[in-house]
Subunit: 189 residues, 2 copies
Amino acid sequence: MGTICGVEMTYSAIEVLRLGHRVGRDPRITTHLALVSRAMGADQFTLAGDMDEKLFENIASVNERFGHGITCRHEQSPMKMLKQVAKSDDELRPLIIHLTMYGEPFKPTIAKLPKNRPVLVVVGGAKVPAELFSISDYNIAVGNQPHSEVAALALFLDCWTEGAGFERQYQNPQLVISPSKSGKDVKEV
Amino acid sequence: MGTICGVEMTYSAIEVLRLGHRVGRDPRITTHLALVSRAMGADQFTLAGDMDEKLFENIASVNERFGHGITCRHEQSPMKMLKQVAKSDDELRPLIIHLTMYGEPFKPTIAKLPKNRPVLVVVGGAKVPAELFSISDYNIAVGNQPHSEVAALALFLDCWTEGAGFERQYQNPQLVISPSKSGKDVKEV
């Protein structure tokens, strides 16, 4: 717990790695992945596949308006990065958790995992290298039906943080939304 | 609970209504909404906005390969449909639940709702008519930060069904995926 990557966390630091982004086809799905990461407790969003400056600008704009919550960067060699993490002998290296519809059921698996470790959550793209299954510490399925990597990431993060991801504080927001039964309650700060 | 819409449910029947679909811009997000609906316990996915035959074909193909799980249809007049539901004096009419980042926190709100009622979950599009807030029985927020309607729907359904949405049985699948620690375990039936 404590501070990891300079961010004070009430739970382990969380990095989300999106593999195989394609600028022409995936911008909205990947933007949703980044926004879910930001809204649910991750502090780092790492994009692999195509670099996408427009996507990073969109997330920076959300950080500026609704408060700083996530850092984005592009990773040229995600499999090399994952192998380096996996072979590290640091006891507190991040757990590599691969979200896949072929994996083990997420809730009972998460319940067994140590919570004092940072996590690196890997979200696949169109084609995932087969070796990802062996490099990852855990292959976790959010249901074994085809649905959505955005949904899978959200359900994983909600379970991992036990709902606390939504209670995160954002730095220097310009806009704050307060819960309302009947309409929009937005304050400019 | 019993059978609703001809589907045996262990919880109330669930319909998801997607407003304001735009064929040119939203096909993947709306497809993810339909697949999340299918994978997490909804039995009806209703598309408003543009008609999109290709999207319906995609979902039909998933039903055929992984088992029948959801029925799709297009609704020309979604606000009229919602008003008719809202003014019905049938005690067991569906609860209209509007997912919006401006609403009340989802978990405590869902905990207070009657579970013997079907639900009609409304997922907004690019622009939502202001009157939707007053027509809906509940305006529910899955966090008050901008993120993703796909994530919001998934978290709502998981909470509403208390995780049971994932335990659904699918009719006549050609392919069945079994959970696996280390790779793909797919059986042709």
